[in-house]
Symmetry: C2
Subunit: 210 residues, 2 copies
Amino acid sequence: MRPGGRSARVRSAVIEAVLAELSGGGYEGLTVETVATRSGVHKATIYRRWGGVDGLVADALAHSAEAPWPIPDTGTLAGDLQEITRAVLIGFTDPHLGATATALINAALRSTQGARALAAFFAARLTQAAQVVTRAIDRGELPPGVDAVEVVRAATAPLYYRLFITDEPVDDDVANRAAAAAVAAARAGVFDTAMGEQQGNTGRKADELD
Amino acid sequence: MRPGGRSARVRSAVIEAVLAELSGGGYEGLTVETVATRSGVHKATIYRRWGGVDGLVADALAHSAEAPWPIPDTGTLAGDLQEITRAVLIGFTDPHLGATATALINAALRSTQGARALAAFFAARLTQAAQVVTRAIDRGELPPGVDAVEVVRAATAPLYYRLFITDEPVDDDVANRAAAAAVAAARAGVFDTAMGEQQGNTGRKADELD
């Protein structure tokens, strides 16, 4: 799709309308009708191109995944992971944009198509963010063979768990603790790939327990 | 409510029907009509007592939270947390019961009432499971002042994150790694409450960053 082409302009207008509707009324308030009215794009066009509400939510997520996402480079793994967990925190609690991002994830959790888009979104973000771990390995902060993506999962999972599963509060302390826990576990060798593959992390073979 | 009374029998029949419907067709297939047919309880009774589908899902979760949940006591924190993460893993991937539990959580994530029930469910489980950390403190494995619930959150969050947010596979390695990461972070002092309150986990004051 050519940026700036008519197709791209239509997509931008529609996605902007989806986010505005989600932010205002959540998933319940989101209909093809309201998106059509807000975006000025014909209902028939929206149905043809996005299929319906779930397709709109999935594409809004795909659009977010495409957006450039600044990867921190503070010079230490602890600093970088803290910037990442803080970015997650701010992304969902910011007074202006947090509600939209939260509503988008919650909407995506409600349909198969949305869940697929969510999986792709996280795969993209995790791969990007894993750079901070690869750099830590290059600097000698961590040994080679650490599962870089798993370190980022460990740092960010506690925030998503609180935000979307247990509905518990998140704040700077939660973000800092999650980052610090991932660093401590990485340093202790928990995310070493060889360890996971060869013997599990406990000295017992995984297949003994099946 | 008297156990064994008529009211309790009605509730059991209805919740069993809810779980069976969720297991078969997920949230989309769940209606008061299908639950009434399967349970043999009048639609009018269900509407009066549960309000509708979201109330049924919330009560099914409340019922799960009431069920006794065995707390492991292996003698070590690492062993206990591993049993807990393994129980989460099995709970959602067991060939017989996993689909029902997964559908129940997914259903709960779709409504405000369900989300509230889910929060209560996790609060109950986290408090119960925190016993293993308290025991580790009593044994001298961890210093006093460790946030016991936070250790359990850290151990289990990566599983819920994969199961319900990113839709990534979970297996014994994932469960073991999550438990081992929580232990390593706890030993490194990341979950010390004094540390979190006084200086954050990084030596920087949290309020410097607001």
